[in-house]
């Protein structure tokens, strides 16, 4: 997020010696306190059975975390520099995210391939809801196009156009998230398909849940970009670039989710 990097590089070619851009910052510590309280609240709520204190603590944790991140970004803006992870960094980070999903998909295949029935026989009728998945896919794939159009606009110096297309993207992404929530609700309450039902439901909710959490992170980044549009220029809009790359990644993962978690089980192999 902060980037002494660009500065470092320019200092290498430049004339005057630059020194630490940031010397002291309270925000990393605050953010990690928030990051520490979240697991602690879980431990209170579950293993120790103190659910009300746990809930309270998790609320505190979220506030600390958001406050920390807010202060952090604010501090960077005070320095008035191009903001956003560099493109190199976001690509490296995406590799790591890909490995995370690789692990989950690997585990899924490891459980599915040797199974005689997939999904297991106690899976209710109408699961997986393929029709819904197709609608979800349409939203997400379209949104990948709209964010791309937005970036093109920005590259041609049309910040207003960027903003418009980004808002369209956000609407599509939000529709995706809402529909996903609806789908979960339906499955759990109407169809009797819940996370601890069988191995398939276990993977279904875990993987779609992991993916949805990435969608939400992507949406937060996009909303942030909308707020920041006026600071973007033709040359300096690293944040817009990184947000776009991340969104395409989330979209790509969704295609794998649809193929492995919806389409294959839909054909009820072995039955």
């Amino acid at each position: 997020m902060d980037s002494a990097m660009e500065h470092g590089v320019s200092a290498a070619h430049g004339d005057h010696g630059h020194h630490h851009e940031v010397e002291l910052s309270i925000w990393p510590l605050i953010v990690s306190v928030g990051g520490f309280l979240i697991p602690l609240s879980f431990i209170m709520a579950f293993p120790w059975g103190m659910s009300s204190i746990g809930m309270l603590l998790s609320g505190v944790a979220v506030v600390v975390l958001i406050g920390g991140l807010f202060g952090w970004t604010n501090e960077i803006y005070a320095n008035k520099k191009d903001v956003g992870l560099s493109k190199v960094a976001i690509v490296i980070f995406i590799l790591s995210e890909a490995a995370l999903f690789g692990g989950l998909f690997g585990g899924y295949l490891y459980s599915m391939l040797p199974a005689d029935n997939w999904p297991p026989l106690n899976t209710p009728e109408g699961v997986p809801p393929l029709g819904l998945a197709i609608i979800l896919s349409v939203f997400l794939i379209t949104s990948s196009f709209t964010i791309h159009i937005g970036e093109e606009k920005l590259e041609h110096g049309d910040a207003g156009g960027y903003k418009t297309w980004l808002i369209v993207t956000i609407i599509l992404g939000a529709l995706f998230a809402l529909l996903m929530a609806y789908e979960w609700f339906e499955l759990i309450h109407e169809k009797g398909f819940y996370i601890s039902l069988n191995t398939y439901s276990t993977f279904f909710f875990t993987i779609t849940g992991f993916h949805a959490s990435h969608v939400i992170v992507g949406l937060v980044m996009q909303i942030f970009c909308v707020l920041m549009t006026k600071s973007f220029t033709k040359e300096k809009h690293t944040l817009a670039k990184t947000t776009g790359l991340y969104w395409h990644f989330v979209d790509g993962i969704w295609l794998l989710v649809v193929s492995l978690i919806y389409i294959i089980p839909y054909f009820k192999v072995g039955q």
Binding site: G17, H20, S25, L85, A89, I92, A99, L100, G103, I195
Partner: protein, 541 residues
């Protein structure tokens, strides 16, 4: 130029300076090294007498080896290498003012501290962790342990590692000084680079593995139970990271050995390019061997053969490195200062461990020794003791740079010899016990092995005494050592061209690099400015 360096307690807690963060990492990880050693002393003492009641209960023994293993691997070895050495050395060696994202760097450190706190809770609170450092289900799901502590410690460490990996890989790619080509990087930088690549790809998979453990325990999911799930899945996901984790430790260590050996033999490192290639091959191949931990777990036959060959294959680049070090030593003018002693001691211990590792990788042999004390002996030689020793040697090597003071050479050598003698012998009896089929992780061992165990414990104490003397030496010398010159070893590497300790901003101006760090004995390198101190020929423009 620039603002003055901040001072006081705030300058540490709120710091984003890579050198300060490095020191914080060093202190914290040393604390966990000591914790791990204290637990080892208690375990070794418990084993002296094959009696249920002696010293600690059997249950507590389980907790102790769990926390000992986790503390040593996850809170000492990896953080000291990728937290301390990477932080301190990378910007200095590539010629940068700091890392790419200084705040993220501070965040990585504090998340590591969070994980440390959780680990301590796992040692002292009820529901103590007794699941081994591997945390295998079903026991970790169905047993009494508070597995959530284990999972969240791994999560926080993982977040710390991934942000560190993104930060440092970006730094190495984008912040190298002009003229600092890939072919001029110190091997230490290369090793750390490979190590962070492994962290980047491996840690998320470990994070996924333990998250599913959490779900199984608290949400009733079926990832690892036998009701449709499969406990073997955990073993696969765990070792997909945890085997390469050995190389996370080993690659930087290989780099540091190379730098030390080259400096104290006053010779160009032999086969620089082959070293780099070997490191990168290990980075990739490290992900191709994990099933050797599952030979007896019921994996498919063909996969055992494939992974056996993978394991044997990875011995090749590793062997190349050992030969390159020996070739560098050959006809060098060797100066046996403490760091060099550690490098040589490392090569000896590592070779013993490495050869036993190849044996361990053979399916037929491993079926016999799997989960026995053979394995305990093997990894204490190849990783635990050899690499901990090398880390201590590395700290000695850069001690004058960091502190501006010289360490106590006599005390340094004393600590080294004690540790070496202890380490060479302490785990040797375990090879024999393993071949006899004595399983690991038991607090009570058959009485006929008491003699061997006592030898082992005696030499463990000697090794640990050496460790403590070494740590004492750091503390003492940092407070009252003789002042150190900028370049006491006459090294040609970039970090030695700046004053000791380095100024707040590292380099007055970003240097322009015209030669590589290993050009010893070349009267005219391609460096433009080669003073008596030598110097990675950095000229300032």
């Amino acid at each position: 130029m620039g603002k003055p360096e901040p001072t006081g307690i705030k300058a540490w807690i709120f710091t984003t300076d890579h050198k300060k963060i490095a020191v914080l990492y060093l202190v914290t990880s040393l604390v966990f090294f000591v914790v791990g050693l204290l637990l080892a002393i208690i375990m070794r003492t418990k084993l002296l007498v094959p009696d249920r009641e002696f010293l600690i209960s059997n249950e507590l023994y389980n907790v102790f080896f769990t926390i000992h293993g986790a503390a040593m691997v996850l809170f000492w070895m990896i953080p000291v290498l990728l937290g301390f050495f990477a932080n301190y050395l990378i910007p200095l060696m590539i010629g940068a003012h700091d890392v790419a994202f200084p705040r993220v760097n501070a965040l990585s450190y504090w998340m590591y501290v969070g994980a440390c706190l959780i680990a301590v809770l796992g040692l002292v609170l009820p529901g103590r962790l007794d699941i081994g450092w591997t945390g295998y289900p079903p026991y970790s799901v169905t047993g009494p342990a508070n597995t959530a502590l284990y999972v969240f410690a791994v999560h926080l460490l993982g977040a710390s590692s991934i942000s560190g990996a993104v930060n440092f890989i970006t730094t190495i790619i984008t912040l190298r000084a002009p003229g600092m080509t890939w072919g001029r990087l110190n091997l230490t930088v290369w090793g750390i680079f490979g190590s962070f690549i492994i962290q980047l790809i491996g840690v998320p998979v470990l994070a996924a593995a333990v998250t599913l453990l959490l779900f199984d325990k608290y949400l009733g999911t079926h990832f690892y139970d036998t009701n449709g799930g499969n406990p073997l899945l955990y073993q696969h996901l765990f070792w997909f990271y945890a085997h390469p984790a050995v190389y996370v430790v080993a690659l930087p260590v290989f780099g540091i050995v190379s730098d030390i050996v080259s400096t104290f033999a006053r010779k160009r490192i032999f086969g620089y390019t082959s070293m780099v290639i070997a490191m990168m091959i290990i980075t990739v191949l490290g992900f191709e061997v994990w099933v050797h931990h599952l030979y007896v777990a019921g994996t498919l036959n063909w996969s055992r053969i494939v992974f056996m060959w993978g394991t044997i294959l990875i011995g090749v680049p590793t062997g190349i490195k050992v030969f390159n070090w020996l070739a560098t030593l050959h006809k060098g003018s060797i100066d046996l200062k403490t760091p060099m002693l550690y490098a040589l001691g490392f090569i000896a211990l590592f070779t013993i461990g490495g050869i036993t590792g190849i044996a361990n990788g053979l399916v037929g042999f491993d079926i016999h020794v799997h989960d026995t004390h053979w394995v305990v002996a093997h990894f204490h030689y190849v990783l635990a003791l050899s690499m901990s020793m090398l880390v201590l040697g590395g700290i000695y090597y850069w001690f004058p740079k960091m502190t501006g003071k010289m360490y106590d050479e006599k005390l340094g050598q004393l600590g080294f010899w004690l540790t070496l003698v202890g380490a060479l012998i302490a785990f040797f009896p375990h090879f024999m016990m393993g071949v006899d089929g004595i399983p690991r992780r038991y607090a009570i061992l058959p009485a006929e092995y008491t003699g061997m165990i006592r030898i082992s414990s005696l030499f463990s104490y000697i090794a640990i005494a050496g460790f403590f003397i070494t740590i004492w030496n750091y503390i003492k010398s940092a407070r009252s050592g003789a002042p150190a010159p900028a370049n006491p070893w006459n090294s040609l590497s970039l970090e030695w061209t700046i004053p000791s300790p380095p100024p707040f901003y590292n380099f007055e101006k970003i240097p322009v690099i015209t030669s590589d760090p290993y050009e010893y004995g070349k009267p005219e390198g391609h460096g433009e400015e080669k003073g008596a101190v030598g110097g990675h020929a950095a000229h300032h423009h």
